[in-house]
Symmetry: D2
Subunit: 428 residues, 4 copies
């Protein structure tokens, strides 16, 4: 396996932190043992948990106002793959990359697949793009794509999605994620029902092209880029889509795509109950689809989502896809993705610590106090040593950000990759 | 028919306003004729449109902090019926009353039915109550009702709902509305899935007792009285309920029961498309379930809801139930209900004026500007003369509030009904 | 005066609509006369009301996901001025243009001023830009501008604002609007107090450079482009700024910059009461800072804002600045700006119709019903004929959008101005 | 000191948990020592931190729909004091009680004061009540109190507040908290400015009666019980009040009284910066003013508030008042108050662990990643052993809820105090 970060640097960084980790891990192990929990079992489960990295997350994001690129911005998917390899090398938590077409389009797919293999990375769900117009594209998506009033535009969007499946097949992917920006900006602009019927019809054409061992994920979002109505606006509509399409169709939950105050973990539970939870786009947010680092704003909410997932673990056919989806405007994208991968594992580890037998008892007895404290006890546990041990045992870094900074990787790629000037946002 | 408001007073009030009304009506008629619309056709449709009044709306409402009763508070369902008769006499828009059990329970149902008939009032959907404990009740609803962990409590709630059906049958009602406050206040308190399974099982028992020509309406609400999770939290869950139960089950939309910013008219369109729109609880709100007078905060939103309803008019089996559901804390409840009935008709009349052929053309052409202006043109039309003419032609008041005030009804009932002192709210 | 739209086309369009307008105006005049209102007085007031157009509004806007340019996109401020001249010629409501520096920077300011004069346009408030990096700029605004931790970056932002004042002086502007994107994306990233102190200090330097007859407007916004905290996040902070700076400093209210559910008209009232209302950026929104056409989502809210303004009219030193600020993603920007200028005048006309003496009486008597109906009566009045008559009497169009479409202006500029390809949004 | 919980029971409970606590405390001590922190210093600070308990919190709360009382509901302030004594005995964190007049009115104030002393409890801020009508009250607060249009009603509200000051003086309190429900339900109902002027005038009368060593706290709230506008709607208005009144006037922040998504910790920072932070009403919420147990929904937000407080510690005249204010609808109020007192201390302890020198460095360098991780590191630390040790060393319980349950206190008071039947909510 090609290593992006020098193994000597990594070893030296780990060595500095190993004694404290050993001590903290043992101490935590004893504490958990008092609760009847084997820390090593938890560590094993955490080590087996992976989350996909979005290829586009490797570049600096932006807003409609501006984008402020950093040093060493990746120029294409091969650069992005190397950045993703850094993330996985240090965290051991991100074994796959999710591609976005056409941003990641290449001439030679086998070269891409081999590059992934060389870097120890597989390919997760494919992402299509019908929310932007590409140079030379015949039909414009200004007024929609899969739900457009014009049949030729819909067909172009269908064809593009099928092309994404074809690319994915060559890369070993097993899923297609469809997020569209279709909607309207003004009351009256679109007829809700006819628009949704067109969407469903188009999705059925894509579904028909889906291989038997693939899944298709539709993604809901309350608003943006449409500001009055959005075709797939919430999980209710998303569920109807998955139901209409068939057994290979599932709902994707992006944590930042809901109305204010909405109880997301309950949506997760409902989708699990009705067999339609496809997976997640993890990130965090305070206002809208802020796409901040996972767990950075409301870590308890993230834990509550994982509480539902752990509760459902072991059920037949329960296999949700986990992916980060963030926009890194003020941090080094590699650092943000590493931190977020760690946070997802943290929430998972905390959720594994919930005493579910006790919880069920409190729930049955309507002991609201002890039921909620049971969750809180798990959440409050500082599982950092478990996460660090899982990384270290798998050859990763005890402290990935420190090791990354020590490695000088960002400076190295900044030297190799030309500087990018800040592109203006969409407002002008 | 027994008239609550003296016909002489009413006639005198109308006489004062008739000349101006004639003039305004004719003028508007000419204006609409230029658009190819017959004003009399619109007036006829408006005249045929009725909305149910909730019996509990006749009393002054309150908050958890306090309730400030007004003069002449109704003491029981017979007083409430008389107040409702005033509303219908003056507006001609509220031919039915919706009862709430046990608040409106009586010993002699045929007496109640006859009293309704004497006052010209029918009985709309029955409303059950499992969100409060009643004196002498065996099981408490403190921790839920239809979804309670305890089977005996669920059975009590089921039985109560079946009792409501029985009462409704005796009164000529054809529907049962089920709103429950079940949910949880803290993460962990309830297991989302098991709780919802218990709810569905209980609802199936109620559904089994539903006569063939009845419908059952479930109502969703994002929060309150539960403050962390609510069993029927949104239209997605509500749709699943209606789907699980069967063809007589439908979703009720209360305009104040959604998360901030949510596009309610799109939810209405989705439920229509999938055959599960049961009807409405009309009111208006700015923050939460504020239960303010319909159309008082965002009249354009109300219009957009009616735009969807008029768009769907004529479809097979499309027959949603319309009811007001408000809390009148600072106004005379009779006045607020009259005004709200007028506002609902106003939105209906405006929606009837939408040039749907032109709208479809603009939508197909993605002419967002003209599509949205087409809706706005209809909304901006001052349809007041149509509403007034529909009332007057049916024997109601040109200006219901003025006629009501002139009648002295409130003072009369204040003299007859004992004064009520302000009950404290729920906070202590 | 140079006319962008052929006067013959305009006259022909008006001729078609004049008879109906005359009739509707007279009819409305009679109706208002019954309420004791002279329609001509209202028309005069409306005719005297103008709103500034933002130069950047003439181009198609976008989101962080994409921008879909239309035909004939303006290439520079001279093109934009011509588009603005169309808007003013047809609506007679937009006598001034608000510039944005550096987007509208030119070498020869007197040429620009003369071009404005030739087109009958004056120059409203100047807008500085420290939320984007410009080619060749020494310091980056990635981590802030006026509140940046680095003194050199703050100085650069100060200098830029002073440059905007200098440009404005040459053009006859009398105000500077300062909106910054400064804030943070993560808890801890910025120290709230030190950051705000730096901002205040920088603003004091700008204030010191302000001519005596100028005003400076600061603008608050809850979020975007910063997603955890924003330095000027709400009117409370904005008020403190205006207070700290001095008598020439005022608060600017953008209707889309508040938290969900916030009562904006009350903020307007508070700022008026404490002498710090500087003016408005008008637009409409459903979710966040959606920047939709004014009045397109919640026209009653717009009316309520104008109700406060009319209520305060006549007070000493009450002279708020009115400007549109929108992003036109799916409409022709000229059409959207014309419509919005009309809507602002509509809300103003409706607010002029409020019977303020009656309203005060109802308020004093706590007659919530009649007080709210008094506002509603004014809002429901279809003042379209007043607006059209005001335009026509001033040489504008009875139906500006129809006249604009008839003129073929968009096609003409599409032929003259090179096509623009869709720039990608900020996300990649 | 009179002990409500048997010391033997408490000792036995503590004995069971002491060995594990010792071990965990020592382990944490070593871990903190590695960061250069003395655990005992933190424990001392935590031990010195107290939060006031609201007397009304001892009873079961409710909603406008219903109230479900528990066993042993306190009948009057003397019962409530005993319950508060339990809370303080076990947590050692709640040395004072905050009274609400007239709910806690007694004939003999010295008896009340002595009872407090006997139980080891002092008296915190006094709370007035002008949001409910009391039996026999001359003027009604239906349409407001301190801002009412009627002078006699305002005077009655002023007199009541002055009476609260008098009572407080007799009890040793040093502050008056004024929260009013005044506002309006419909646009137009109230004139914003005249209403606020009346409020300010009334508050000045109360302020004039304030002893020199007292403070007056005004409290803002976005909505409820008024549903369109609220006189003191946000911190901006609240700041203006404190500024207008004078140096003894400060703003009280209730964590549940803000619009959705609002950054509360920044409001705290602004009020500190401008010298007007009076204190807190702690609770947690997901939707509105849910009044849930502190830290139960978003513990990280609570931590961020304390991060601001610790950052400001040591500044001159910085002495905010801390009080719980919750509604306990589904839990034993004593348990909820104990848990919340613990959570407040937890957030305080975590905030004490923030490496502020490092944080300042990261902030100055715009190292958003490390700055936010610095806060997170502190938040993730499981400070439970510190909290438990602080309680134990002060004679409290290692596990207050377990000790409380073991004591049988609730059953004891259930036997002594008559059962209460569920009062209906405010809706009927």
């Amino acid at each position: 396996m090609e290593q992006m970060i020098d193994s000597g640097v990594l070893a030296a960084e780990n060595e500095k932190r190993a004694p404290a980790l050993e001590q903290d891990y043992n101490t935590l192990g004893e504490k958990l043992a008092r609760r009847g929990i084997s820390i090593d079992d938890v560590t094993s489960k955490v080590a087996a948990y992976g989350v996909a990295v979005p290829s586009w997350g490797a570049g600096t994001g932006g807003t409609r106002f501006a984008r402020f690129p950093g040093a060493g911005e990746p120029r294409h998917i091969f650069d992005k793959l190397e950045d993703c390899a850094v993330i996985h090398q240090l965290t051991r938590a991100t074994p796959t990359v999710s591609l976005h077409i056409p941003w990641d389009k290449v001439d030679d797919l086998s070269e891409l697949r081999q590059r992934g293999e060389a870097l120890g990375l597989g390919f997760d769900a494919m992402n299509s793009n019908t929310f932007q117009d590409q140079e030379g594209q015949e039909q414009s998506y200004k007024y929609g794509s899969l739900s457009h009033t014009d049949a030729a535009t819909r067909q172009q969007a269908i064809d593009h999605n099928i092309e994404c499946i074809e690319i994915g097949k060559a890369l070993g992917s097993k899923a297609l994620t469809v997020w569209i920006g279709d909607g309207s900006n003004f009351p009256g602009q679109s007829h809700f029902t006819r628009q949704f019927e067109r969407y469903l019809e188009a999705m059925k054409s894509i579904y028909a092209a889906l291989p038997d061992d693939w899944r298709i994920f539709s993604e809901h979002k309350i608003f943006e880029p449409a500001f009055y109505s959005t075709v797939v606006q919430d999980w209710g509509t998303n569920y109807l889509i998955a139901k209409e399409l068939g057994p290979k169709a599932f709902c994707l939950v992006d944590l930042g795509h809901h109305a204010p105050n909405v109880n997301i973990e309950m949506i997760v539970a409902r989708l699990i109950q009705f067999g339609k939870l496809g997976g997640f786009h993890f990130n965090d947010s305070k206002y809208g689809d802020d796409d901040l680092d996972t767990g950075s704003i409301d870590p308890f909410r993230l834990f509550l989502v994982f509480n539902e997932l752990v509760d459902a673990e072991g059920a037949t056919d329960f296999n949700p896809a986990h992916m980060l989806d963030q926009s890194h405007n003020v941090t080094d994208p590699i650092e943000s993705l590493m931190r977020s991968a760690i946070e997802v594992r943290r929430a998972y580890a905390q959720a594994l610590l919930v005493d579910r037998a006790a919880l069920t008892g409190y729930q049955d007895d309507n002991d609201a106090m002890m039921a909620s404290e049971t969750l809180k006890d798990a959440f409050r546990t500082d599982v950092g040593p478990i996460l660090a041990m899982a990384r270290r045992q798998a050859g990763g870094a005890i402290d990935p950000i420190a090791a990354y900074r020590a490695s000088g990787y960002r400076q190295k790629v900044a030297d190799e990759r030309p500087a990018v000037t800040g592109a203006g946002g969409g407002i002008v």
